[in-house]
């Protein structure tokens, strides 16, 4: 467990950002992963007083505040309808309800964790990360955000821009609430011509990466498509699985994704 000298429930994003510019200070999301560290911090910056804990949906997008809990996202009817239930599938394996009532979407994204089911799912959606910097905020695609090193900007939320899509999610785990051995999310984008399949593979064990292909390729021969994905996406080894096994899983899950997405409803 970390130690800290001070705590501040920020009254404004400006206050939070200013505090965060000090190297030793840290922004607290749900604190579930932060807690595992033994670091000594100066001030813990709490965003829980800024109303960032809401999911807002309109006809164009979902706006999900950084302090929205994983449980909120998991049980959000609109978001589940949009993702064909993938949100529930992606989130329900994360430790337990009590945990997901604390862990936040912003924390999962800002942490850029390799094992993240959340990042894997969001990566195959049209997701943008909102960052607060000084007095301004900016919006960058999630893929770009994940590729960047951590900065002193603060994640205030994400936007998932709606497109005509169908979504798939599956992970493989040791126990059902363990870290995943591999995660796979996929979306079929009908809005583009020709339509496209986007595959996001995480827990490789490194950060999730994207694989995109014309939908037709995957539809025609899911097995060959899956073999190509497995060939292209690099995997590694840790105690939960070898690179060889992970690559095998990439192929299995990619094929399942393709079959599932092209199955007639």
């Amino acid at each position: 467990m970390f130690t800290a000298r001070d705590y501040c429930r920020a009254g404004s994003m400006e206050e939070a950002w200013t505090l965060y510019q000090k190297k030793n200070n840290i922004v607290v999301g749900g604190m579930q992963w932060l807690k595992m560290s033994d670091a000594s911090y100066g001030t813990l910056i709490d965003l829980s007083g800024l109303g960032l804990d809401r999911i807002e949906e309109d006809q164009y997008e979902f706006h999900i505040g950084a302090m929205t809990t994983l449980r909120q996202l998991e049980t959000d009817a609109g978001f589940n309808a949009y993702t064909d239930g993938a949100a529930r599938k992606a989130l329900s394996g994360i430790v337990g309800v009590q945990f997901r009532n604390l862990a936040t979407v912003g924390g999962s994204v800002a942490g850029r964790y390799g094992f993240s089911d959340v990042c894997t799912l969001l990566l195959c959606l049209n997701t943008y990360v909102h960052l607060f910097h000084a007095e301004t905020s900016s919006e960058i695609p999630l893929a770009e955000f994940l590729a960047h090193p951590c900065s002193r900007d603060i994640v205030t939320g994400i936007t998932v821009k709606k497109v005509k899509t169908k979504v798939f999610y599956e992970s493989v785990r040791n126990t059902r609430t363990d870290f995943p051995i591999l995660t796979c999310a996929a979306s079929l984008r009908y809005n583009e011509t020709p339509s496209k399949i986007l595959l996001s593979i995480g827990a490789r064990p490194q950060k999730a990466v994207l694989f995109a292909a014309p939908a037709e390729d995957a539809a025609k021969d899911p097995a060959a498509f899956a073999a190509r994905v497995a060939e292209e996406i690099p995997t590694g080894s840790n105690v939960r699985g070898s690179a060889q096994y992970r690559s095998h899983l990439v192929q299995v899950l990619a094929e399942r994704a393709a079959r599932n997405l092209f199955q007639k409803d």
Binding site: R173, Y245, L249
Partner: protein
Amino acid sequence: MRTGDEAKGLTGNLKVVNHSWRKKDADQLITGKPVYTQDIAPKDCLVVKVLESPYANAIIEDIDTSVAEKVPGVAAVFTWKDVDQNARRYTKAGATFPESSPYDRLLLDRHMRYIGDGAAIVAGEDEKCVDKAMRLIKIKWNVLEPVLDMHKAIDNKILVHPEDNWESIVPVGADNKRNLCAHSDESDGDVEAVLKSCDIVIDETYHTQACHQGYMEPFCTWCTKDPYGRLVIVSSTQIVFHVRRNVANALHIPKSMIRVVKPRIGGGFGAKQTSVMEMYPAFVTWKTGRNAKMVFTRRQCLTQGTPRHEMEMHVRLGAMKDGTIRGIYLYTLSNAGAYGEHGPTTVGLSGHKTIPLYRPEAFRFVTDVVYTNINAAGAYRGFGATQGMFAVESAVNELCHKLHRDPMDLRLQNIAHEGDIMPGYYNEPNTSSNLDRCIQKVREMSGWDAKYPGQKFTTPDGRHMARTVGMAIAMQGSSISAVDVGGATLRLEEGGFYMLILGCADMGTGCDTILAQIAAEALDCPLDKIQVSGADTDTSPYDSGSYASSTTYLTGRAVRDAALELRKKIIREGARLLGCPEEDADFDGEYVRYVPLKVQEPSENKAAADPEEKKVSLNEIAERTVTNITGILEATNTQSSPTSPPPYMAGVAELLTDLDTGECRVENYYGAIDCGTTINPNLARVQAEGGILQGIGMALYEGVHRTEKGALIENSFMQYKMPARPDIGQIHISFDPSYEHLGPYGAKSIGELVIDTPCPAVAEAVYNACGVRMRTLPITREDIAMAGIKGEEGSVAAQENPSLR
């Protein structure tokens, strides 16, 4: 005694025993009352921590605590300099004296033998100052090369215990100059000749891991001094009396100066059969006079607690074509880790609880227990039998496949029966067994004949699945023959109730309730007339503690016999008050009545018609005990059992496997159990269900890995994955009891037996799914998925899904 106590059990005419009662502590537990060690600690305790060695093998050249001692709030820092390095060593094992476990520890040693070994004790007013002080201790290390591979331990030039004051006080074949914690070799008949003449010999090696018990309450101990200056140790322990001895040996102080008390325990499973931490706060309190408390984090529980012994077992199982098992050779290599707690004893069960399941013409059982530079192993439910059962029962399952025999049939053909003498079990007679009926029962309840070996199917969305079954049988013991001691005191109290004073430890199993049921049965009273107290070394009758499947059987016997003796005393006193001969009085639980032998039948009517003259109430007798007219009515009984009657079980695992990803779950587990009479059927059932899931955890989930330097990787519940609720389908239990005449009301043990069948049964179900025999635990998703790619003849996967080959 006119109440035929034995007959009561046999005829099933039992009023309290064999009925399901709520546990006596249930309401306090479900409302979250402060009943555990940490909940009742004084507020002013010093926080005690042990500085952990970062090296697996190292000597402390120099240790400087001067800066650490100056940290505000720090009360004491102790190092090896505070402990005589030439003094007699001690063991943390909780075992009857003289212990088989070697005396290989000092309270604080210069030589660090595993990552986590204690380099210093720090005590302070709060956690923060203690943590700070620990960071400020300066150590000059002489880092040595460790021996981490148990295969390379014997006669390695690196010695885990090179010291001359290492001591093994019981001849168990130990030799510290060879890294040997124990060695044994026993046999019956000429196994080599028998194996040579067999039609088929299964010759394989099996490997199990150092699994963690997973008790939910981390280790906790606090200490204080009583008004007489004695050291009082309050601890979450299964073994109060052994803790007293171990702490006395560690601190080199008289046992008379130590009292050990156990509050409620949040689970033990054998972990708390080792005095893992008691000596540290005890030393602090002894030296400083201050109250002191130590609580392990879960990381410390995993890295400094004593897990199951990692074992490797080489089995050679010889049989004829007709399925007759004729010879068993078993070599077990057990990894003790850095210290020898329970090393010499656990290894024995890998053979003693497996070979006697069958009736081989000859057997040989050889063991080596070796020291290595990892954290010491210890006791965990099953105690070596679980490891052995995985090996021997897997070998029997392999034999079945080679002979194309149904595993149930082959076992029915070969198992030992009631009345047999068991050469592999110290030549003890088999006094009770229903194993054959348990096998039949589990066959029926699991739908075995329709399910074995299993079937493969493809789901509508294209997943290749297999639903398969596997089975195994098991036995355990009931207490350690002629070693364990069970004790109980029963006292009639003012108000006409009884105090039952125990030295065993209810660690959640419900033994306080079970033993009270036995007392109530023998005393013909309602359960709530028995109040339970224990375990406290100052007041409890000696009991070796709750382990080795001894409590219900052995302490249960002590309770029954104490109750029957107290019953006699009550009748004697009642008869005296009634002015009648003792032989003419009887006790029905409420009244001692004058019942002349000759006119026994109509006497009840007489008594009813004229109660004043013919009976005296228990209440009245009880009141006289406190006015000193009668004197205290009390009975203490102590038991030891010349034999250890085995309970038996047959188990079936039904596994649903995703052959592509390797994911699998035990959808159903069926267990048919002969534990003798179930004293409390509900509690027996929960024991079975809990033990089975622990076994499934060991089979499928609970991996143990170490870094190159020897540090445990699975050092938290984030990494060490015990099954959670979604990881199991359903567990189905059936009791098919024999009647064990040596046990109380026919009871044998249940606690350990139930963890033994899942590993081999699950491995067999996995084989039937993916066609590869898994001989190393845990069986991972990766093992299964990659096996599906390789494939093997004979499996469902290979037969019905050629694409998987």
